[in-house]
Amino acid sequence: MAANREQHESTMMTDRLVVSIWLGLLGLTGVEVFLAYERLSLHLMLTLLMGISFIKAGLIMAYFMHLRFEKRSLVLTLVPTMIIVISLLTVFFPDSVRLLQMRPR
């Protein structure tokens, strides 16, 4: 616990950096709401909104959850695992397009 505390103290984020990240996240949320009212195709809209959401998630994990300041072995254990397993979950997704196009009309 003492080691953890010493490590955290050495990498503790300044309040100014934290507020900057918070403002950035609020700004990106504003961009998302703006995009939602633009007349774009569903696929383009989905791509843009998910892209921004991944940037926001990255900022939260890196700074708020402190992952940027953790040891690389922890990052390399958690992040690739998460990405690979979530990617594997999407293997079913193309079936939704098949369902849409092959539905009896």
């Binding site: 953890n4 934290v18 998302e32 989905l46 909104l49 998910m50 998460m82």
Partner: protein
Amino acid sequence: MAEASEARIEDISVAEWGGGSLPYSVGHKKLGMWLFILSDSLTFSALLIGYSYVRVASPSWPTPFHLWPTIAMASLMTFCLLSSSLTMVLGVNAANRDDRRAAVRWIIFTLLGGVAFIFLHANEWRGLIAEGVTLFQNPWGTPLFGATFFGLTGMHMFHVATGVLYLGVMAVGVSTRRFGPEHVEICGLYWHFVDLVWMFIFPLVYLLSVKMH
């Protein structure tokens, strides 16, 4: 010979992955929370991908959300969660400076952000239920809309409510010196994760269902 053997055992035990040191340089409680977050992120991923699946597969998915009140309130809820994440980081920083009074104050602000989120969300649910949206039917046609909406947002709200309880316990524990900085940081990890999940629910469930004029 015996001395060499002892020295060898000592070398192994302090080596990385030898069991005598922390290979990730984090305590076991924090590592446990990270593993919980990893597993919970898969639960939410499955729900979000399932939602996207039925949405794409449905030829007439409803887009019933007006700017006022739904999108405006959902944006306010996002603001509440993001701001509570900010106060949580400030609480963790205060706990690491051993400034317990400031840490408790920031944790309580975080808790209030969570309570505001739950209040706004419950109010939104009340409005939708009054419009006739239930788990199995809604006025707009596709019955799965209600099931996926309440399933996803309900699961998230359950996590927020759990987080609010966790923060309450943490505030009391820090003020009575029962919990230290590491506990506050672990609690913060959970709270930020709840915030992170909302960053995907908000665009997928709300912003892709806005009613265009």
